[in-house]
Chain length 344, copies 4
């Protein structure tokens, strides 16, 4: 049994992680921390977990957390992990950071987009970007796994095959993404109130959302050249789900068969379903699946590639467990094969 | 492995059953039928189940369905099961009927509320009302299990201990229940359209909802006298969940301790959580759990007892699997221990 | 033109008041105050009102607010109005308080349910309970109008005719009410967050909600005897609307004709529609209407009477304007005749 | 008083038209037709309109409808108006068609996208594309007004100034639009059921949605050259609202001041609000307003221009009334100045 500690366990991503780990056949939770609710039981905060996880919440005490843990999950606001993770910690256990601090390889880009100093830039080399479908082999030996963002997971996996195969003009990429409200976290803010979100849709972070450089980094690596792209997220009145609608000009002569062939790289992936049917977020709700489909527009010369994930599962906690499974040599799908409900 | 056939597999309850059976460690699906979609794959209708259940849908052909099946689940409109179930069928396999045809012991009451003739009233004696927390022992030997309705499961389990212990004046019972929209089924009707349901709440079936006699039957059995009660369902703009708010005058001298003691009958039940915290349907969403709480009002002399379930799980498919588990001597919780998500 | 000042104008009820007053043919806004947003424009906070009301928000300065105002609307938390309203203020202008401070005639009952001291109990005699359909004549001469609560407006109007006509056993009243989330206000609290409210329903304030004594006061006045009743509110995942489902035993010999005759008292009311069709909150959304219907249950001897309002209009701002219209001798429906949208 | 007849009055757009006309100071409804509900009262179908519009619904009988009408509104499925509108009808009254039949100037393009023959292509020259902010002067003298589509209204008004001023590379236009579910109409189809729409988002009509040629026609007229563009609509779990997010490369040297100057063309428009704040559909809900904002991305060289409307008001019924006001020389804003509620 892999022994797991979770910091930030009462945020939405953290709690989803607790839910998944609670049903994992080869892992057990040994420590749950919550800055806000230390001393209470996890199931006091999430009564749906009564009789499933009634563990008492502790403080964010990393030495205690890692006393008996093989893996430390950190689901914390930006800036905290980069201060807390040290070479000593990495000797003790595997760290899977659900935050943004170790995702960008270049500390300067981090500091430009997150507007805060990175406290351990020297550790960036130790970190692997934990997107298994692209970096599976590198994840295996690493002690520090930077779990990708939600928009980024969905978008990178949707566009990667097209770029890797050199099928699109990378100067024309436009990504129009939509997210459920859990992506905004459990913090009490006006913009997340029911009456403010319900019955409305809006774009936000236009031209400056922090997931932009993360998408650019990974797609640039695939491309071999520096990609700059347009990314626009939207807030949708639903709890969970991300839909990423990606546009680009196809290069001259690229056929539908070329595109299908490129997506063939995913044919053995347990969590990616490429289909002719357009994705809907309800089909991946509660699962670690990525649904992808595309259309080629003969009139405009564009490809429209669309991906869907559950932002809290493949976009956060599920992918973190997938990374844990890989890092510890478990079956990659262990604890993650829940199907979506009957269309909702 | 218990071999299961499902009729009506593409309705919401049927599909939830497919979802649960797909993850069940000791059961396998051998036959799926759908009146509307025979010939297609189950996952064409529910793309969220692609790679999980891609079985081809067959016709409602009971002989074929039961050729290799140990258990036949019927998730069909009222009136069909009572015609299709025969003594010969019951010799071949266990039948678990998710519909209403075998729930009421008295065919006349069935005919009065459902306004159709019962085709096999002589089989009503063979049937057991499949509410395990009350009839567990009787379920074990039976070949015909009448799976209870959604409102009824929630309401009966909430009120049963109070009545069994003789704590309330049964002539004063008022049940005000609320359901998510999946309870109305997958049929295309105006009243189930998004714009008609969203942003509104209404009562329906006031004084004449068909779940009334089912609740009265079971509570009368508990009481030993004929109970007549008020039941009012409401439609709520959400997909899943039932909340049943039950009111009654406490008998003179009944104390809070008496009430707690009565609910103590559930202390070993794996799927019932009695708590001081008021239930919210999100806490049971996707699970087979029943959450129950109560308040005694010293001013009015009433008890207010509130129960919550997921209408498609404990209110339909989950309970059907629980019944299967009991009937086949499996662990009663097998395949049913999914926890609710982080509060949604 | 009646000159109006509004305190608490950026809460949901206050903002709805600004919306209605902005379209009122015989009123104009002269002062808008907001504790949180003083200095900003109203339309900065509610961009939907740009080009409609761009007035700058002021502090809660009552002398300034009433310098040029004929009427002062107070949409403030409990406890503030009872301190701010003085005999001197009432000489200067009419005060319409949307809060609870002057609704209960007995300061002790106020203090017991609101757990705070009432600062001007001597003014309670000056106040009228501003429910026009019941107290229209008394409203005309008063300077201090206590605008009723949302649940209370809906519930009192639904039950009043039955009690006034002596048709029900008042010891058996059970009120099961449901409200949209705007009723919880615009304050940032966890329980009002989108992901906490969406896809769930719950009861709250069971046996102790503060609207209870207000309903009891008005129904006791109608009855001539002290009524104690059961009131249970629920939170529904929608923005607006209240549905109040009221149960009571009919007295012996009461016929459906008697009930119809009792509701006949509303036949000339411009804002009450009694109908055979069960109410749905969408039909009153955005309007000052009250929809009422009832069913008599021959089996149980109960009447089930159901009312629906928009909690922010008839349950708050619309009724406040209706009170203003009466107090200033305007057409009672002025500024209030907006119809609901096409069913949503 | 302008006398109005409405065909298709019980669809969502038709009913919204009835609602607006019912409150219009200078118009009165003289005839309401409904294919499905002839013989019933309008308020039987839309109980929210009881006491506001209780007119009896008639058949789709154009001679009767136009006996006393000055204007005939047609809110009917594609293909019906093009058959029903004749030169004789246009002599009798002004026709405002909310459908698609007279929007495209070229019958061949209509037939290619709608896959049906156009029955009166010779009348296309008589028709004006009823987008007042662009074609106001032409609307004045015309008898046949083709009311624009919902997506198209929002998108054309958002992009028009940029194209008219020659600021963008028109070969790079990508439009990612999102609509509430009322846009799918009141017909009973699986894809519009509550449980299918709620808690999910999807794209549809990718590369082939019928509003594409309508947008291209109007923007091509603005540009003077043939524009081909990418248009992708999405279904959002909300009742009303369209958000249109438009992307294009800015031409070299175009500054933010140039863009502001271009949008200055709307400075006197009563229904367009250009703002620095990003639009949210809730701010235009229930109103005839268009909210527009833009961002220039120095990194990519793109402009992101975003518009929002209520699909049933400015996207259908409100714009139809605006067209009526213009055609009959009334104040263009008559009956249309309702403000949105407090943010929802």
């Amino acid at each position: 049994m892999v022994k797991a500690a979770v910091l930030g366990s009462t945020g939405y991503a953290g709690a989803e992680l607790v839910r998944i780990l609670s049903g994992h056949p080869d892992a057990e939770i040994v420590y749950l921390a919550s800055h806000s609710y230390a001393g209470k039981k996890f199931s006091d905060i999430y009564p749906g977990m009564r009789c499933v996880c009634d563990m008492t919440l502790s403080d964010d005490d990393i030495p205690k957390a890692t006393e008996n843990a093989d893996v430390l999950f950190m689901a914390l606001p930006a800036g905290i992990a980069s201060e807390a993770v040290t070479p000593e910690l990495l000797e003790k256990c595997v760290v899977i950071d659900l935050g943004a601090d170790f995702r960008l390889h270049d500390a300067k880009i981090y500091e430009a987009w997150y507007r805060k100093e990175h406290k351990h830039p020297e550790l960036l080399d130790e970190a692997v970007y934990g997107l298994p479908e692209i970096h599976r082999e590198s994840i295996k030996g690493k002690k520090l796994i930077a779990n990708p963002g939600c928009y980024t997971t969905c978008t990178i996996l949707t566009l990667y095959p097209l770029i890797k195969a050199g099928l699109i003009d990378t100067s024309t990429i436009v990504i129009d993404a939509k997210s459920g409200t859990s992506g905004a976290g459990r913090g009490e803010k006006l913009g997340s109130m029911f009456c403010e979100v319900n019955e409305s849709i809006k774009a936000y972070g236009v031209t400056n959302h922090r997931h932009t450089p993360e998408i650019e980094q990974e797609l640039s690596l695939a491309s071999g050249e520096d990609i700059v792209l347009q990314f626009t997220p939207h807030l949708v009145p639903m709890n969970r789900g991300i839909l990423s609608c990606c546009y680009a000009k196809l290069k001259k002569g690229v056929s539908e068969a070329d595109v299908r062939s490129a997506y063939g790289m995913y044919s053995d992936e347990p969590f990616i379903r490429v289909s002719d049917d357009l994705p809907e977020t309800k089909y991946v709700k509660g699962t670690n699946m990525v649904d992808i489909s595309f259309r080629i527009d003969g009139r405009t010369g564009n490809i429209v590639a669309i991906g869907a994930i559950d932002n809290l599962v493949k976009g956060a906690a599920g992918q973190a467990v997938q990374n844990m499974n890989i890092a510890f040599g478990l079956d990659e799908t262990a604890g993650l094969m829940t199907a979506a409900g009957p269309a909702f």
